[in-house]
Symmetry: C2
Subunit: 279 residues, 2 copies
């Protein structure tokens, strides 16, 4: 297939590498000529350009821009593609993206490949980034079955585990397991900096793996955190309210010194965690 | 020196290994003969016994029992030692332990070596467990300087980074960076299990490193979690209340859609985290 990839960062670049390796003809688009040159030098793409008109005749275009730029990118792209071209995106929130892009283009399937590394940008792009990682597709009742089929065919060689669900269910799920942890973890860091001076100094010296793991995502990129909150606000708020209730229950048990109930609650979380992640 | 170690689990056993290697005469005490046999077979100690009277003539006795058993162990030990013997313990909460043991024995210095592995018991005991890990000593105004000196001399070869502070400051510091994260993390697991059925199923499939790290200590040993809460209740409650305030501030920013303030808050936590742990 002839494939366009708009945005050659970690996700777009890594996808370009794998799709080029799978014998597709890959055209990469970046706003910056320097990134195009880098993509060509690394042979990640067959052609790279800053000009969307290069995407004429593509079978699939994958939009790998930041969330807020997806709809405007689609609008700019439309004059250059024909009705047969399937569009998809890789945004980490789906309902608002699917709602706006669906209005612009029929042949569109929302997508979210859940892979990443600690690094960003084209230089972090790598082969096999998506192997054994979830790749969520969010077609709606209006999405043509042929578009979903073509996209499935394209991404199968990436080695992802493909899920298919409603955009709203996707956004609820990522609110709970991806966006809520950022707020929970950031609040831990804020709280700890409020310890009294003498205890704070010792806490900073003694903090180890427990604090390290629990605070990791709260110490991450602030722009990503805000982006998640902006685009998935209502689901995030719901999960935060529910979290606060659970926290209040634990606080209450400690306050009442109900150690038996606290042990039951912690035994329950110990049992429940493996249903989300391996121990 | 002639050293007694009461309780041959991960901490007591690992200490026995290092102190035996440092040419001290180490006598291990366990409630179970099987553990004594194992300690002898592994040559972790010079002698192992279930009988506290073997500790006659020791220069230092390190009490490595669970927190709740420390004071009763000291009471049982007293008939067998002389006034010169220095006692210490390895309990993870210090103020209540120091308060009760100080009344029983003058020559006592509270201690907390902050090391561990995912495993417990004598079979998990290993050499060099304490290297480059914090070891907090909590002498009070009444603690004889000679006792602190002898203990310092004993633990120096373990390779720990030795801190010295008031028991109350220790307990505040560990409430913030060790006990609070358990409650924060457990609440996350509880909250996520309350997502609606369809989103829950997807969340369980999609959960990855962010959820894994943030939920790790909340999915740990429930008895340890309860033990921390019981013995460090007031400091933990204080940290939980402060945490809840920080959480409420973030919830409020998301609710008001004050994205600029949210970005400032997350940029602050990003800056603050490295003062606790390496990035």
């Amino acid at each position: 297939m002839r494939i366009g990839i708009i945005g050659l960062g970690l996700i777009g670049g890594s996808m370009a590498i794998d799709l080029t390796a799978a014998s597709h003809e890959v055209i990469g688009i970046s706003r910056r000529q320097e990134t195009c040159d880098r993509a060509m030098a690394r042979q990640m793409v067959h052609h790279a350009s800053t000009d969307l008109s290069c995407l004429a005749g593509t079978d699939v275009v994958v939009i790998c821009t930041p969330l807020h730029a997806i709809a405007t990118t689609v609008t700019a792209l439309l004059p250059h593609i024909t009705a047969d071209t399937v569009l998809t995106d890789v945004g980490s929130v789906k309902q608002p993206v699917v709602a706006s892009v669906s209005k612009l283009w029929m042949n569109y399937v929302g997508g979210h490949p859940m892979a990443g590394t600690a690094h960003q940008g084209i230089d972090a792009a790598m082969s096999n980034l998506f192997v054994n990682r979830p790749y969520v597709l969010t077609p709606t009742d209006q999405t043509p079955a042929a578009a979903v089929d073509r996209l499935n065919q394209l991404i199968r060689p990436l080695g992802s585990i493909i899920y298919r669900c409603d955009p709203i269910i996707h956004d609820q799920a990522v609110a709970w397991i991806s966006h809520l942890p950022v707020m929970v973890s950031a609040s831990l860091i804020s709280a700890c900096t409020h310890a009294n001076a003498e205890a704070l100094e010792l806490a900073q010296a003694l903090a180890s793996s427990g604090f390290r793991d629990t605070s990791r995502v709260g110490g991450g990129n602030p722009e990503l955190g805000v982006m998640m909150a902006q685009h998935n606000r209502s689901n995030l708020l719901q999960s935060l309210q529910d979290y606060r209730q659970q926290l209040d229950q634990l606080i209450n048990l400690v306050d009442k010194e109900d150690w038996q109930a606290l042990e039951l609650a912690l035994a329950q979380t110990q049992r429940d965690r493996p249903s989300f992640v391996d121990p």
